[in-house]
Symmetry: C2
Subunit: 467 residues, 2 copies
């Protein structure tokens, strides 16, 4: 299907659907410009393409009804959680209906005895962890933003804890989803493992809403470790920091978080979060385990860091100090954008085999210098994943072109190193050319799956790949 | 499609394909009755349905050629690794060509620095671990049998180490596969995580060869732990053993293996493996970590076991003693069948949320007693997964009916407890009715995926579900 055809707006169908949904949902259907714009892409340089209307759904049945009505009229459906995705996932290039799931925010069950829970898709990760506080359990996936769990599943999100606890793919046990014909399926039972047929759970995780709308998630939980200890350690250069990470992973130290911030990001974070760390490439690390285990891990890590010239650092197991440290890490994006007021961040998302990490970051820094961009680097480096945030005036075509050039080089470099153009943000609208480059013929198989499950192409059309 | 239609043999096409493959492969094509029978199902009560011919393939290109030729003539293709699957996966109910991949047994690369390796599908898990011995790394998935890694991926196998290291779904980074049209795809790059499009890796893992033939696997490796310690502990009854497991998991002790053997199985194993353990419900456990970490875990476990009446037990970190212990566990299947010479084992594979494990095992034992079967129980109980091996004379319809009744009750019970009829063996031919019962409408989505990727239904037809 040509792009033009794929992107054709179904004006008549959309008008009918908006009228029908207005009858059905009353004030819970909005066509206001502000609401529509807020439900398109709002986080990066990608142009906002608002949906035609937004429905605020409150149950699986309502989602199924909306999807059925849209299916009857061939109108696109875009699921919306917290709006924190970074690759244009929420945009409506063909128009259509945004289903806002933020009101489906109930925690339906916590099976503490089985280390799992069942939640609606609008529950956010912070909300879930707040709810779990008294159970001794936590949900480990932490992409930084207080994203919705449905959205995190849809982009196969990960973040700072993934090096220890895996990504959303590893932490979703089962999903309930509304499929493109309005039917409701459950992908798996609650058992911890299964060989019962195709892994539809993992097919929907990372499908970016193009195969169905997730309406319920069964998630694995972890026990809050007895011991947690965190530290900040600075290095003479980024390569030394990367090499410390590589050695830490290769030694099998079960680090829970290991985050890189380059000199520019440290300058930004010191200013934004009122810290006074050395302005040098820095690792933020955290260990989880028993008290003895954490002490052992910290000691081993300290020895490795020292070998690579890591500066002295203080360990802390005090919760408030740890919270302050990770708040600074979570605010890195805002700290970065504050480096250049009025600028937007153009975020990249390369992930490479860990042995190539130092090379990939070094060559990327050379690109940044050559292109003359202001572009701090942060990364979930234990997984070989790092982000560059190029701070640009998106209204300046020359700057946008430079940022695109940088992003292109980074994606191509990651792919050439047997890595991926996206470790955790997804393909969305922004990375489709790189998906083809990365996986070639496999994309044709993805298309076959998409066409089979969503023959009308109403589920978040225009994302991941052209059909 | 009706079963009859699905199962129709394409006699003319098969004859043509056998002739073409004979020209192409010479002595590496076999139509001998013994070879064909050996490439059908041979491990359990399920009737052997041999393929029409067996090709011994030596490269991806050869597999692609065979698939293309079969596709042109609408002839089924069944991938064969080590022949150790348990649900009839290798049978050829519609005839067709078995592609024996055991000759594709090269370890293509070990990236020790990235903790991964690349292997051909005929490499067995023992072969891989033998090869890795000097690297300090190992591949953790251990289903008992020395299965091929391609086969283990195809059934989403797991086994004794899964409680700590996950299943094949968690340990395959990327696959190369020949698709039903003969095209060759790679599902992912070698990066540790990715959000690049649909997760075709996890779609092929567990697809039982119904979507494509796996021709190469990139696998995650683990560092061999500094400390390993193992023990055997007996309990007054199965419930006490199960409750010990539940408490161990709930306390977050990162046990590497925790296996249940019931009294009958212990009697069988003592006899077969020349051991003298108490003939009582028993847990075999193993801990991995640093020396200090392992000691800490063992102590905690000991306290829990004692609370539930666990007998005294001795820890060993001596490798030969550990090897002897796990050899006995691995030989449990053969030990069980030796309980009744001439009998075949009818193996079940329930997996339930851990909180339901004791109930599920207890009710199952009541069924075994009521039906008057000889049926020892072993289980990967840390995951809530256990196997009953009903020892029956498969030529006696009354005995077979009783075993089927038992298996049906166990599957239904597991499903009712929010578990699965198959934790690790797969659906194959044997569990299709239970897949429908377990996942309902989701099976229709699986069918849509199957039809889209394999419209001719030539890839291992008659498995997982009727079309």
């Amino acid at each position: 299907m040509a792009l033009a055809e794929q992107l054709a707006r179904n004006e008549g169908g959309i008008a009918s659907v908006v009228a029908i949904l207005g009858e059905r949902f009353g004030a819970r259907l909005s066509v206001s410009g502000a609401v529509r714009e807020q439900h398109g892409h709002t986080t990066t340089w990608i142009e906002n393409q608002p949906p035609d209307a937004v429905v605020f759904a409150e149950s699986t049945e309502e989602v199924a009804d909306v999807v059925k009505i849209c299916a009857e009229h061939g109108v696109p459906v875009i699921a919306f959680g917290a709006g924190s995705s970074l690759e244009g996932h929420l945009n409506a290039p063909c128009g259509g209906i945004s289903i806002d799931l933020s009101g489906m925010n109930k925690i339906l069950a916590v099976h503490a005895e089985d280390l799992d829970c069942v939640v609606q898709p609008g529950v956010t990760r912070k909300q879930l962890n707040e709810h779990l506080r008294d159970t001794g359990l936590f949900f480990p996936i932490d992409p930084g933003a207080d994203a919705s769990l449905g959205g995190m599943a849809s982009t196969r999100a990960s973040g700072t804890n993934a090096v220890r606890y895996g990504t959303m793919k590893d932490n979703v046990l089962s999903l309930e989803a509304v499929m493109p014909d309005g039917s409701v399926i459950r992908t798996a039972q609650r058992a911890k493992k299964s060989s019962a047929g195709y892994d539809l759970t993992r097919l929907l995780v990372g499908a970016e809403g193009t195969l169905g709308v997730i309406t319920e998630l069964t998630l694995r939980l972890q026990g809050i470790p007895e011991g947690i200890s965190a530290a900040v350690c600075s290095f003479p250069d980024v390569e030394a920091a990367c090499n410390t990470v590589i050695a830490t992973i290769q030694h099998g130290i079960p680090v829970a978080r290991i985050e890189l911030l380059d000199t520019l990001q440290m300058r930004a974070s010191n200013a934004y979060s009122k810290l006074d760390y050395p302005e040098a490439p820095t690792l933020f690390v955290e260990f989880h385990g028993t008290q003895a285990g954490v002490a052992e891990q910290a000691e081993l890590f300290g020895e490795i860091a020292a070998e690579f010239g890591g500066g002295s650092f203080a360990w802390t197991s005090r919760e408030e100090e740890r919270a302050r440290l990770w708040q600074a890490r979570h605010d890195a994006y805002w700290a970065a954008t504050a480096l250049r007021p009025g600028a937007r961040a153009f975020a990249t998302d390369a992930c490479v085999p860990i042995s190539r990490l130092a090379d990939c970051v070094r060559e990327t820094m050379e690109d940044i210098a050559e292109l003359g961009l202001i572009a701090p680097i942060v990364g979930h480096v234990g997984d070989g994943n790092f982000h560059v945030s190029a701070l640009i005036d998106i209204d300046d075509p020359a700057e946008l072109a430079k940022a695109r050039e940088l992003a292109g080089r980074i994606s191509a470099r990651a792919i050439a190193m047997d890595g991926t153009c996206t470790g955790e943000h997804g393909i969305g609208q922004g990375k489709q050319a790189y998906l083809e480059r990365e996986l070639g013929g496999a994309v044709e198989v993805m298309r076959a799956v998409k066409r089979a499950i969503d023959p009308q192409n109403i589920m978040n059309p225009g994302k991941i790949m052209r059909l």
